[in-house]
């Protein structure tokens, strides 16, 4: 049975079934509809303003490559008047990031965008390869996650840019919603569902805004868009967490999608509705549950190990909100009355005296020193 004609142009053969509504479209109508929907997301949420400089967090993977391509197309088509630049973070993992950075370099040429690559080595004095040689393969995702959270902001601040866009898609957001439900972490759920988050940066005057223009785009459609447009992207898996994408929340999402494709956007919308119930999302460091690397694993560990990063919702404010809404609710894990301040060491936003990244770095330095002593003392094994 040959495929039916496209539901929009009615002339070409359909080549795609859209997960959100089962509509059957031809290649060119799909590409137009996909782009138009992203445009709608951008305009209805007022993501950009004319003259704004925007850094695209680029990994060379499908999501950020599609984001860069679509934003370039839309900026020209609808005359947003924004200035786009690519910002890549090099975690310093040989055999993993090297190839994808080569892809980003080609993308920079293909899309005529400037590219800045900023390394963990330069930012923190440690590559992930060095971190792993120190702490081992277990638990290294915690370091990577904490470092990455700051890295894009610091990179943007260096470029004098106040807005970073990331390639988080609907599947990523749905996965994060489920993860936060499983952890009973409503405050974090509220932040991760919002399309724009604001991260106070290292300097007093600048606030870095984060947004996710692909928030309502299915991963399936992102891959098909990249495929049918012939985009140059690189698929890989982190050598230190090779099975990260087997995460159970991810598998659950994909299984749900197979049974009922609209489930993914329904979870995203449910997340938004639940977030609305607990009041406006506070301006805060975004939690990038999905995207990039060891997704579920790192956000899992991050959630348990690094509560210090999400503290401006104090238990006092949450409880007050809970009373208003008539729901008894006790904030999980948060200490009492913590106030957002600046890290004494690096100046980054922190609820503690010293931010999580600096705590981890201090631990690494001590470990290095201790190891040095051990070796000198001849303690083998």
């Amino acid at each position: 049975m040959p495929p039916p004609p496209c539901a929009l142009c009615t002339t070409n053969r359909a080549a795609i079934v859209r997960p959100k509504d089962h509509s059957k479209l031809c290649k060119s109508c799909f590409i137009t509809v996909f782009e138009t929907e992203i445009h709608h997301t951008i305009t209805s949420n007022n993501l950009f303003h004319r003259g704004e400089r925007i850094a695209i967090g680029a990994s060379g993977g499908k999501d950020s490559t599609v984001l860069a391509s679509v934003l370039k197309t839309l900026n020209e088509r609808y005359d947003y008047g924004v200035e786009l630049t690519l910002l890549s973070i090099d975690e310093g993992i040989k055999g993993y990031r090297d190839d994808s950075l080569e892809t980003v370099k080609r993308n920079a040429t293909q899309y005529s965008m400037p590219l800045t690559i900023l390394g963990y080595a330069e930012l923190y004095g440690w590559t992930m390869d060095q971190v792993v040689s120190q702490v081992g393969k277990k638990g290294n995702c915690t370091y990577c996650g904490v470092f990455r959270r700051q890295a894009l902001d610091r990179g943007a601040a260096r470029l004098g840019i106040q807005h970073v866009v990331t390639g988080h898609n609907a599947d990523d957001v749905a996965e994060t919603v489920l993860m936060n439900l499983l952890r009973a972490d409503l405050p974090r759920l509220s932040r991760t569902t919002s399309i724009i988050t604001s991260t106070p940066s290292t300097s007093d005057t600048t606030n870095i805004q984060r947004s996710k223009p692909l928030k309502y785009a299915y991963e399936k459609e992102i891959v098909l868009y990249a495929h049918h447009k012939g985009l140059d992207y690189f698929s890989t898996e982190c050598i230190y967490s090779p099975e990260a994408f087997r995460g159970s929340a991810r598998a659950l999402i994909k299984n749900l999608e197979r049974v009922r494709p609209s489930a993914i956007l329904d979870i995203v919308r449910s997340g938004e509705d639940m977030a609305a119930l607990c009041g406006p999302a506070p301006a805060h460091a975004a939690d990038d549950g999905g995207g990039g690397c060891g997704r579920t694993e790192s956000s899992d560990i991050g959630g348990a190990v690094a509560p210090g990063l999400e503290v401006e919702i104090t238990s006092a404010t949450v409880q007050k909100r809970g009373k208003k809404g008539g729901v008894a609710y006790v904030a999980p894990r948060q200490g009492k009355g913590q106030v957002m301040g600046k890290c004494e060491v690096c100046g980054y936003l922190s609820s503690q005296r010293v931010c999580k990244a600096c705590v981890l770095l201090e631990g690494l330095r001590k470990g290095r020193a201790r190891r040095g002593v051990e070796i000198e003392g001849g303690e083998g094994g």
């Binding site: 079934v17 990994s59 994808s100 390639g167 698929s235």
Partner: protein, 112 residues
């Protein structure tokens, strides 16, 4: 009897699946009908043949599970394109493979 014909078609692995298989793109030749059952060659036969071929998958023990589930259906999150068309429009596993077809398996599961 008699009707023992082979068809040729191309199979390609993309989006990270190319790391699972020794060859990311190759032309295959398979009989149109199964000798024993007499069944017409459909996509589910091809998928099982690919998954069971220990020479094709780099690490048969672990990587097979990244391609198919226990019941030999393609793992959710892997898209299948038949001549650039979503296999959902072509009958999915029941699609009868034609001579000259280009079948693409593309993973959405891998990261950047």
């Amino acid at each position: 009897m008699g009707e023992k014909q082979d068809i040729k078609f191309t199979v390609e692995f993309l989006g990270g699946l190319d790391m699972l298989f020794r060859s990311s793109k190759e032309e295959l030749s398979m009989p149109t009908k199964d000798e024993l059952s007499g069944e017409r060659l459909v996509l589910s036969h091809l998928i099982q043949a690919l998954a069971d071929d220990g020479n094709r998958i780099r690490k048969p023990g672990t990587d097979r599970k990244l391609f198919v589930q226990e019941d030999n259906t393609v793992r959710p999150g892997i898209l299948v394109l038949i001549n650039e068309t979503d296999w959902e429009l072509e009958g999915e596993e029941k699609y009868e493979i034609q001579d000259g077809d280009h079948i693409i398996f593309v993973s959405t599961l891998h990261g950047g």
